[in-house]
């Protein structure tokens, strides 16, 4: 079970002076149950790539298949395959339209053709996942919520469709650190309990190393690196800086401390582990 992308190319505004090749011969495969981070500087083609995962964009050349079913067709099978992939866009709260939170979240599952009881069950579960209390929020107008709460309603609207793959395009953009962490905690919980694959587009190297086992680095419409985030940051630092990316703060700090003579193991990916290692090296407890 996987999403398979084979040699896709995509050009915006083809045939005009504004023509822009956004993807150039990209091949990648995403397995069910993986967490994949997609990073790259602004305009590198991240959003373009992930919009191919559920057929929102059709490649000019190449194929996209979900669980072996090509997305190119217009038949029921292709439609079904597309719905296996949930997509949370940048600033998803801008897509909210219904009168109540409940109605907005139920929009997706109803379109998938779930029975009313199933819709109700999915909405409740999705709200629980994103930490919105059902009794408090279900009947409220989504337009009277805070930005962070609206973001959660929007994410719940996609989660309620019960996708096998969940694509999130910068889900934490414009949120404060606490809401940011909360959103990620919810996404990780979802990954654990339902075993769905997560594709996470992000500008934050910290988020990439912290949450993903695999990372795609996109540069000028091509995949530059594909592998373990810690390894990529360790082995290709020079190249990453060249294409406009920086390594995570934790890595920088660890490198500085090592330079000062502290004995720290390689591949520390988060602040908590770093702190433990410093304590250990210093003999603190």
């Amino acid at each position: 079970m996987s999403i398979d992308i084979k040699n896709i190319c995509y050009t915006y505004m083809r045939g005009t002076p504004f023509e822009k090749k956004a993807l150039d011969d990209v091949s990648v495969s995403i397995d069910k149950g993986e967490i994949v981070a997609v990073i790259g500087h602004t305009g590198s083609g991240k959003s373009t790539l992930v919009q191919h995962l559920n057929g929102l964009l059709r490649p000019d050349a190449g194929q996209v298949a979900v669980d072996g079913i090509s997305l190119a067709g217009k038949d029921a099978a292709a439609k079904k395959a597309r719905q296996l992939v949930g997509m949370v866009f940048q600033y998803p709260e801008h897509q909210i339209f219904a009168e109540t939170v409940y109605e907005d979240i139920a929009f997706g599952p109803r379109n998938r053709g779930f029975e009313p009881e199933e819709v109700d069950k999915q909405v409740r579960e999705a709200m629980a996942f994103v930490g919105l209390d059902f009794e408090t929020f279900a009947r409220r107008s989504p337009f009277r919520l805070s930005g962070g709460q609206m973001r959660r309603v929007a994410i719940a609207g996609v989660v309620a469709m019960n996708p096998d793959y969940l694509v999130l395009d910068e889900p934490s953009a414009g949120l404060d650190p606490r809401s940011r962490n909360a959103v990620f905690k919810e996404i990780m919980a979802l990954h654990k309990s339902r075993g769905i694959a997560i594709v996470l587009v992000t500008h934050s190297m910290e988020e990439a190393v912290k949450y993903a086992k695999r990372m795609l680095v996109i540069n000028q419409g091509r995949i530059l690196f594909d592998g373990n985030p810690a390894d990529i940051f360790k082995n290709h630092q020079q190249k990453l800086v060249e294409v406009g990316m920086d390594e995570p703060q934790v890595f920088k700090l660890a490198a500085l401390l090592r330079k000062q003579g502290m004995e720290l193991p390689q591949g520390i990916t988060d602040d908590v582990t770093l702190l433990q290692m410093i304590k250990k090296a210093k003999g603190w407890r």
């Binding site: 929102l56 866009f89 609207g157």
Partner: protein, 272 residues
């Protein structure tokens, strides 16, 4: 999804025509349109057509693209041709079919009238192809300024046009984004009967209106906080200035008009 909608039709370039002052281009287009009505002989029409083609050539626009702008009026052109051909009075009958007869005079008149229409559109589309919408409104504002005294709100009109033009691409982009987001949630914008379809548009229209109002609000606040207070006493960053090429362009278009006027009335004048 909406990516194939090209907005306005500005085609960037750096040709002689592109570099002309927008006012020159607007006025020259108006003069050309007047000149079209001077033409009565086929020689005049040939000159006018040649001039239009030369301008397109100089502007380095793809000829085919400019010709495509004629498509929307093709029906009117054909109708004009037909009506003149069959109904205009004339002596020399070319051929008759049942009760319809085509006269040479009718045919000539029809061809001329349709040529007029096509030249009119062709020449004005060169204006919009070679001038970005923002520059065009600048030119219009500048040309309308003298009419302020009789109460034409030149600056306000231009500001409204500029803002509208500025936000059309943004709104299209927004529409595209929301459409994609709702499609990803299984929305269907293209099937069902009329009522069903209208209802299906709600998930698109509600967020679109909300974002349009939000943008309008933000823009108003941003303009006020930068002390915007209308056109009175404002200076501009890019002053419009007539340069050498503008005088050359005016010279050419006046020469063309004079030539056409001579072709029409010149012989009569000489006979006097």
């Amino acid at each position: 999804m909406l990516s194939d909608i090209t907005l306005g039709q500005y085609f960037p370039g750096n040709s002689f025509i592109h570099r002309l002052d927008p006012r020159t281009k607007i006025l020259a287009t108006l003069i050309y349109i007047i000149a079209i009505f001077f033409a009565d002989s086929f020689l005049s029409y040939a000159i006018l057509t040649g001039f239009a083609l030369a301008v397109i050539l100089i502007s380095r626009l793809p000829l085919l693209m400019v010709l495509k702008s004629l498509k929307p009026i093709m029906i009117i052109v054909v109708l004009t041709l037909g009506i003149h051909m069959f109904t205009a009075p004339g002596e020399t009958v070319l051929f008759t079919w049942k009760f319809l007869s085509v006269t040479q005079e009718g045919l000539e008149l029809g061809v001329k009238m349709s040529l007029r229409l096509m030249l009119l559109l062709l020449f004005s589309s060169v204006l919009t192809f070679t001038t970005s919408p923002i520059v065009l409104t600048d030119g219009i504002e500048s040309l309308l300024r003298p009419f302020k005294k009789i109460g034409v709100p030149a600056h306000e009109l231009a500001m409204m046009m500029t803002i509208a033009l500025r936000f059309i691409p943004t709104l299209l982009e927004e529409t595209d984004r929301i459409m994609k987001a709702q499609t990803a949630r299984g929305a269907d914008f293209s099937s069902g009967n009329l009522l069903q379809r209208a209802k299906n548009m709600l998930p698109l229209l509600v967020p679109l209106f909300i974002s349009a109002f939000r943008r309008a609000d933000e823009l108003a606040v941003a303009m006020e906080s930068r002390c915007y207070r209308g056109g009175e006493g404002r200076t501009r960053m890019h002053e419009l200035l007539y340069k050498g090429i503008d005088y050359a362009a005016f010279g050419t278009i006046f020469a063309l008009t004079a030539l056409l006027a001579f072709l029409r009335w010149g012989t009569a004048l000489c006979a006097l």
